[in-house]
């Protein structure tokens, strides 16, 4: 009897367990969502290390860091911990050999507005909005997109592009083949250098500000408004310098095929000079009116 009754109970258990295992298997093979919250004080430091995937960081008004990770597989895990006013977020590889797609993790992170960010992302994309603290972003192939950022911004990519909308503070960006777009910038210090990428600067020239754009090849485009004021030096060793700005005084400005390529020096308007330095080895430099 016991046996008779026992058999159906075993099958009943098996019937419950098998779908459970199947569900677990499906879950481990597909994306997993993990959410964590950390209470922080003013100006917290948030570090994010992710080999592959998107990182989206937005500022909010809470004194809290919220991390939502969507893990690409069961072979990676979210490793997030708090040390004082610092939150470290990392994608941790659970098994030794992981296919690149399984290593993927996408993050949505909310931080207080005055947070300091340190982000390392090899491939994928990094997007940050409304964070006003210092920022250090390093990527290999990932593109970086900042909006309404301030503070001391240091961006380094190998091949990823960089876009900055309405950024202020101190901007330093370096890349080998990435292109840069600095739009509606309100920074007093911009230094952008890439080897083969293009650089577009369209923003305010603040009094005594310094704007240094440099590449090896590609196009450097500087856009200005009629009311802007700056001293400009533009040199392209092997390429061209095209200028739409009426530079004064005329005897200080020249444009020629000089001994070492094309060069242009001059002042545009006179109040509150900013200093603009544009240098290219083999590329084209365009100084054009902003629409």
């Amino acid at each position: 009897m016991n046996t008779h009754h026992a058999v159906p109970r075993i099958w009943k258990s098996a019937g419950l367990l098998v779908p459970g295992f199947l569900l677990f298997g499906v879950a481990s093979a597909s994306a997993q969502r993990v959410e964590k919250h950390f209470k922080v004080e003013a100006s917290p430091v948030v570090t994010i290390h992710n080999p592959n995937g998107t990182i989206t960081v937005k500022a909010w008004t809470k004194s809290e860091v919220m991390v939502i990770a969507t893990l690409g597989s069961g072979r990676v895990d979210l490793d997030a911990e708090q040390n004082g006013n610092r939150v470290d977020v990392m994608t941790r590889q659970i098994t030794d050999s992981v296919a690149p797609d399984d290593l993927r993790a996408d993050y949505q992170i909310n931080v207080p507005q005055d947070s300091e960010l340190q982000i390392h992302n090899d491939s994928g994309a990094v997007s940050v909005a409304n964070v006003l603290g210092n920022m250090d972003v390093e990527t290999i192939a990932a593109d970086v997109d900042l909006q309404d950022a301030a503070g001391y911004l240091t961006i380094a990519t190998v091949g990823g592009s960089f876009q900055c909308m309405r950024c202020a503070g101190h901007i330093e960006v370096n890349s080998i083949s990435g292109s840069f777009r600095l739009m509606d910038t309100r920074s007093k210090h911009v230094r952008a250098q890439t080897s083969t990428g293009n650089i577009l600067f369209s923003g305010d020239f603040l009094p005594s500000g310094e704007y240094r754009l440099k590449n090896y090849s590609g196009v450097i485009e500087l856009r200005f408004l009629p009311g802007d004021s700056f001293d400009v030096t533009a040199t392209s060793l092997k390429g061209k310098v095209n200028n739409q700005a009426k530079l004064t005084p005329p005897n200080h400005s020249y444009q020629s095929t000089s001994k070492y390529g094309q060069a242009l020096v001059g002042s545009f308007n006179t109040a509150g000079h900013a200093h603009v330095d544009l240098t290219s080895f083999d590329g084209t430099i365009n100084i054009v009116k902003r629409d």
Partner: protein, 226 residues
């Protein structure tokens, strides 16, 4: 083969005394066995010798430089007639060097400024077309001296680092290979440009920056443990 008693790092720490002639037995043993360090100290020796010979050339600038300088300083009222010191005969004063005769009465800051102006004038005088080929050679040699050891080291690190990239994310690996090729090409073109226009400072800056970029890229790769 007997191994050197110290490694390259410790040898580099002893570089200053080495260049001053204070060479320990360990450092000498290392230099004998390490071609890279041996080449580096040889290069540094050449640079030091060249610098000394250039400095020696600048000791006696042409007389016209001093004449012109004196006239300028007299116009500005910075120098007066030569002073004859107590216990010094006019003959001895006349026999004294041109420096003291002309500049004895000048306040020290003005003298420093004048000396600087003189050096600039000497520099201008030396940069005439006759010395152009010599200068070109110096620029090329100087650039090669400073970049050759760096190039050797970077290429060695590159081989090791890039070989270990095979197991990494293929997207990242492809980007790294592509960008390393870009930087290498950039270095080649800059080297050509420096060779063609040795005095072109911008080209030299680009060359140094290209090496810096390569070093940064390799450091980044090593840091990430790829």
């Amino acid at each position: 083969m007997k191994m050197a008693a110290i490694d390259c790092k410790r040898f580099l720490n002893q570089l200053d005394p080495w260049m001053d002639g204070q060479r320990t037995a360990d450092a000498q043993a290392h230099a004998r066995n390490c071609s890279l360090c041996r080449s580096m100290v040889a290069d540094l020796g050449s640079i030091t010798t060249a610098a000394r010979s250039m400095a020696a050339e600048e000791i006696e600038p042409p007389a016209r430089v001093w004449t012109s300088l004196r006239a300028q300083l007299e116009r500005e009222g910075l120098i007066r007639e030569p002073l004859v010191r107590v216990n010094e005969t006019p003959e001895r004063a006349a026999a004294a060097g041109g420096w003291r005769r002309w500049f004895g009465a000048i306040p020290r800051p003005a003298l420093a400024g004048a000396y600087l102006a003189a050096l600039v004038a000497v520099g201008v005088a030396l940069s005439g077309p006759i010395s152009k080929r010599v200068n070109d050679y110096r620029w090329i040699q100087g650039t090669q001296d400073s970049t050759s050891p760096l190039s050797v080291q970077l290429n060695s690190v590159e081989q090791t680092t890039m070989a270990s990239l095979a197991s990494s994310n293929p997207v990242v690996t492809a980007v790294l290979h592509k960008n390393m090729a870009i930087v290498d090409n950039y270095i080649t073109l800059c080297e050509k440009s420096v060779h063609d226009e040795p005095e072109n400072e911008v080209a030299r800056d680009y060359l140094y920056e290209a090496y810096q970029q390569k070093a940064d890229l390799l450091a980044q790769l090593n840091e990430r443990g790829d």
